[in-house]
């Protein structure tokens, strides 16, 4: 919002020189228009609030949960498999019940969200950084380098992401760093293709030629001139891919090749409760599953609205 403030103060300085029409145009900055168009959809607004609440709850989990599920002193095996609403041994209500080891599910879900979100977002950021650089340089350099890189991307995208990640985790073994690596490898190609597509369009525009004739360096033209104009599709793909990454991580963990028991993400929690499903103790799997579902759906709804707002072909 600092953008708007400086904009307006600049306008105020201009004083009489600015006609009414110009003032109206000045207020309509790209960012402000983007915000107002985004908020037009109530569904997207609700999703954004939900997502914000989920992220805040994950960050502040230690302060809003009755139990630290990793602290063995606080977990009592006698509390195991209690149905929702039961009273725990240490005198608090387990609203969502407890799992086989006696962990309060509400606490475990919030702590699990921390890991799921951290893994999804970290792998997303690394994959964006790699895919963006690769796609941008492919579009800028062109020629054989571009052909070579984009064929690798095609090859990568012809395999299902889950399969690529599964193979890598099977090779590398368990661990949070390995799962992040696997998710990065499974995702970078989407970003590379997205950025390359929009960078090709931008590269042929005259402002790039102007920058070249001003003697600016290639790196500067790529990252300061072309890249900012390719960000819109990258943000959209980034949001939706992050949701995919979270789902993929949960899938791998559920299959038992993802995160270890010591770092229980939502996928691990679901897997833990799975064996109790048939004995009627549904809550151990279902509540983490619902938490995962809400997270992914709200990210996707936000991503869909971003896509609608940032798509120049849908401009109203």
């Amino acid at each position: 919002m600092t953008v708007e403030i400086t904009q307006q103060s600049a306008d105020a300085d201009a004083g009489l020189a600015i006609t009414q029409e110009e003032t109206a145009a000045a207020i309509e900055t790209p960012f402000r228009r983007f915000v107002s168009e985004f908020l037009e959809s109530r569904l997207a607004l609700g999703a954004l609030f939900t997502l914000g609440a989920i992220i805040l709850a994950a960050i502040f989990a230690p302060f809003i949960t009755p139990q630290d599920p990793y602290d063995l002193a606080q977990v009592d095996i006698l509390d195991g498999r209690l149905p929702p609403g039961s009273e725990a041994f240490t005198e608090y209500t387990m609203w969502l019940g407890s799992d086989g080891a006696g962990r309060d599910l509400y606490s475990a879900i919030l702590y699990g969200l921390r890991i799921s979100l951290a893994v999804g977002i970290t792998s997303g950021i690394i994959a964006i950084a790699i895919g963006m650089s690769v796609g941008l340089s492919a579009a800028y350099i062109g020629g054989r380098f571009e052909t070579f890189v984009m064929r690798i991307v095609d090859l990568q995208l012809s395999f299902p992401a889950a399969l690529v990640a599964l193979m890598l985790v099977a090779l590398l073994g368990k661990g949070i760093d390995k799962i992040i690596l696997a998710l990065v490898v499974a995702q970078w190609a989407y970003y590379a293709r997205t950025v390359r597509g929009s960078a090709l369009v931008e590269r042929s525009k005259e402002y790039v030629e102007a920058a070249a004739s001003l003697g600016l360096s290639h790196a500067r033209i790529m990252f300061r001139h072309i890249l900012p104009n390719c960000l819109a599709p990258l943000i959209v793909v980034g949001t939706i891919q992050t949701a995919h990454a979270i789902a993929l991580e949960a899938t791998l963990s559920f299959l038992g090749v993802g995160l270890p028991q010591t770092e229980p993400s939502l996928g691990v929690l679901i897997a833990n409760g799975f064996e109790y499903m048939l004995s009627g103790k549904y809550w151990i799997s279902v509540f983490p599953g619902i938490a995962l579902l809400i997270t992914i759906v709200s990210i996707n709804l936000v991503g869909d609205q971003l896509r609608d707002v940032l798509n120049p072909r849908l401009k109203r």
Binding site: Q7, A10, S213
Partner: protein, 336 residues
Amino acid sequence: MSELVSAGPPLIEIQGVSKRFVKRLDIAGKIARRLGAGLEEETVHAVDGVDLSIDEGDVVGLVGESGCGKSTLGRMVAGIMPPSDGAVLYKGRDIASLSGDDKLEATFAVQMIFQDPFSSLNPRMRVEDIVGEAPVVHGLVPRKGMSDYVDEILTKVGLDPALKRRYPHQFSGGQRQRIGIARALAVKPKFLVCDEAIAALDVSIQAQIINLFMDLREEFDLTYLFISHDLSVVEHISERVVIMYLGRVVETAQAEALFAAPNHPYAQALLSEVPRLDQRKRDFQPIKGEIPSPLDPPPGCHFHPRCPQSFGPCSSARPVLKSIGPDRISACHLND
């Protein structure tokens, strides 16, 4: 001015410059050719052996139909595109062979003004950064002095410096073109290549921008290569006019002499099409046919399939540019 014989080499000299665009065969095409499909690589001769020298202070108009290679030539002069053959010389030295500070000096000296005022400005940058970036990055102006420097340049091109924190989409076409001019002026150029710089503007705005070009010329001793298809504009501002047809120069002359009596049949045809008040009732006769494809240019004189006066040698021998008067050259077999 061009009449004065300057002591040093010309500011810009174009020596036998050609530009070819080759569409290479892909793997499937290569295999098909190996199997005897008779596929060839397609080559476009956008610019074909052009010589031109421009002295300091000159205003040279470059005219021709669309697709004749005038924009490509302009881009090669501005250093945006490397020539396939030949060389562009700045003050007698080949720009391609320069390095370090000399190269930077030559880069700054030749700047380009673009046709499209919408795509030629980066939509994500403020005017201040568009104009001030290059001088600051290259150390012409300290970072702290950027704001004042941008104010100064914007005032020179007739824009209110108070608007410098805005984005390009908040300006009209004419204002955007002024921003483009300010961006070029910020690196203190000696030579401006204006590639259809006014073609995308309203007529009233065109006049303003032309006047701006002429004012700046006096203030900064600028030299211009003015690329346009609008002959009346070229007649108005140019001292010398170069006419191109399908990648080749067909006639070069002083503007007055050329407009009074064009020599080359293409020049005659082109100039007779300029609408004039005193010829209001005339029936205009467009040049017959289309401009031939540069993929497969006609042999001999490129213009002969459309030329009303073509004869024997026209379809076989390429006419050379010959001097046909003071400071005037033309490439036509009729002059032999």
